[in-house]
Amino acid sequence: MRRGRRSWGLLVYSVLVFAFLFAPVLIVVLFSFNRTASLTFPFEGWTLRWYRAVFASPDYRAAIAASLKVALATVAIVAVIGTAAAVAVTRYSFRGREALRSILLIPAALPGLFVGIALLSLFIRVHLDLSLQTAALGHIVYTLPYFFLVASSRLLRFDPLLEESARDLGAGWFTTFRKVTMPIIAPALIAGALVVFSLSWDEVLITFFTIGSQNTLPLVIYSRVKQAVDPSINAISALLLLGSLVFIVGIRRYVVDLQQ
């Protein structure tokens, strides 16, 4: 009896926690299909008009394009720098290796606000006009540690004898990297790249300080929410959610590879 009561309590508690976590998500998705502009109950019937509004809006389309540009540039550059850094730190011993490892990880621990302001003052000092490029630089600083962590933890589990075998069979170090190391660690690198993409995709704080006249999607949503009640916000949020879900599903097999 007592055990039964306790497990009931646990069940109710779990339901409440999950409701707290997911009810807002469900409400946003639900009201993105609401026929009227009201953001509160009652729900008044289904429509796709807010989605049409999103895709018809030049602001949103420009914001999506800007976000994609920043995110893709960030992923490309972080993947190259992060892989090189991970290989250097895990494969070679050199003076200052531990220091380099720590420095690479620090930006992830710093407050975004601080990183944003620091970068802004740097850009002003070196007379760099704020633009999507400077925003991408900000994202690179912020996301590099995450990619570095994923890549270096995979490389630490990598048997160096595989690389020695490739060298023994006649491959130079670059061929070895291209034909052996790279294909084997590729799933981890893809997982890291997806993490970087999703971090960049919804980054607000650093972007706010480092971007120029153009705006990324999260910034547009933020300014719209402040101005007026607009159900198209629900639609665009639901689209962001859909994008994230696709990523999560896509990333799963690579995450499984990471855990092995």
Binding site: L161, E164, S165, L169, G170
Partner: protein
């Protein structure tokens, strides 16, 4: 591979390698003839793997030269020398199948596709892995994986094949099987093999020559028979066979023979070595060089045979051989005899005898025994 003039003579000249403060390989010199199968045998930490890795180009000597067919390859990276290695762990590339693994080196060398296919097939045939071409590396057993690793090495027709304890992770039975096949493959290819192992039986059964290493230097190099019959030190004696090592005192040295005192009895043994009367030394007596006879048949009448009294304390029957533990006056002897004929029972009084030339006197104390070898511990 087929019928080519064998090349691959290797000369290691005064090579040294230090890790931190510890000399791993110490002023080491060795010549390996083309086509020779040489094993480097020793306990872990004796420098055998470091030496092999320097031949393969994975480590570089701090001093000395490594010369292959009269070309100095000391400082060449592994991809620039005609050697190939079979490693201790499975190092097949997990993202490639068996045929792609074996053809890896040929693809790097830009060999034509038809030629690659032909040579991969040939190599897999040689290691009896035909039919596994499309299998993923991770689906193979340990023994199969090492066969493929061997094929991946020999397909490149290296002038020296290097082995870093490739069988040590395998089950005893598969290990024995592969030892026999490796020897066959060596016979068929006629190449130079350098094989590192800590398993004396593996080294003795496969090699033309065994190099026993200790503390980064050669303790003794010779054919398996030489090492077995004439070990130069207690270290070698205890490493390569099942010998009795008995502490003795040297009483006198006469021409060609030594008189020693063993448990109060004076015995004449030979051959003589660098010992002086009064020295503490060790008597090395191989377990199968000793013969036993029931004491009630009377003392051995044979000329020149050393003889003692003893009692059988333990009998272990292991098929073809019988292992006896015999207690003599204060000395315990391990004796191996053929199990043909009548067996002695526990508690039987026996005459223990051996020919003087089978007993070796070595100048060291028993503390110098190789750590990895257990005297009398070998079972076949």
């Amino acid at each position: 591979m087929n019928g080519e003039a064998p090349s691959g003579s290797l000369r290691i000249e005064r090579v040294s390698k230090v890790f931190g403060d510890i000399p791993a390989v110490d002023d080491f010199s060795l010549e390996v003839a083309a086509g020779e199968f040489v094993s480097l045998l020793g306990p872990s930490g004796c420098g055998k793997t470091t030496l092999l890795r320097m031949i393969g180009g994975f480590e570089f000597p701090d001093g000395g030269r490594i010369v292959l067919d009269d070309v100095d390859i000391t400082t060449r990276p592994p991809n620039k020398r005609p050697t190939n290695m079979v490693f201790q762990r499975v190092t097949l590339f997990p993202h490639l199948n068996v045929a792609e693994n074996v053809g890896f080196g040929l693809r790097i060398a830009k060999v034509g596709k038809a030629e690659i296919d032909r040579r991969v097939t040939e190599a897999l045939e040689l290691v009896r892995m035909r039919g596994f071409e499309r299998r993923e590396a991770h689906t193979l057993s340990g023994g199969q994986a090492q066969r493929v690793a061997l094929a991946r090495a020999i397909v490149n027709q290296p002038r020296v094949l290097l082995f870093d304890e490739p069988l040590s992770a395998l089950d005893l039975q598969i290990r024995r099987e592969l030892q026999i096949e490796l020897k066959d493959i060596h016979r068929e290819l006629g190449g130079t093999f350098v094989y590192v192992t800590h398993d004396q039986e593996e080294a003795m059964s496969m090699s033309d020559r065994v190099v026993v290493m200790r503390l980064g230097a050669i303790e003794q190099a010779g054919t398996p028979v030489e090492l077995y019959r004439q070990p130069v030190s207690l270290f070698v004696a205890s490493f390569v066979g099942s010998s009795n090592v008995i502490p003795i005192k040297v009483k006198a040295v006469r021409d060609g023979a030594v008189v020693v005192e063993l448990a109060g009895i004076e015995l004449e043994v030979g051959p003589a070595s660098e010992v002086q009367p009064g020295d503490d030394a060790s008597l090395v007596l191989r377990a199968e060089a000793i013969s036993l006879e029931p004491a009630d048949r009377g003392a051995s009448g044979l000329e020149g045979v050393t003889s003692m009294r003893g009692r059988v304390a333990d009998v272990r029957f292991v098929g073809a051989m019988v292992h006896y533990r015999v207690e003599t006056a204060g000395v315990r002897l391990h004796v191996i005899v053929s199990s043909e004929g009548s067996l002695l029972e526990e508690g039987t009084d026996v005459n223990v005898s051996w020919r003087p030339e089978d007993a070796l006197v070595l100048p060291e104390g028993a503390a110098d025994v190789a750590p990895a070898a257990e005297v009398g511990g070998r079972q076949t």
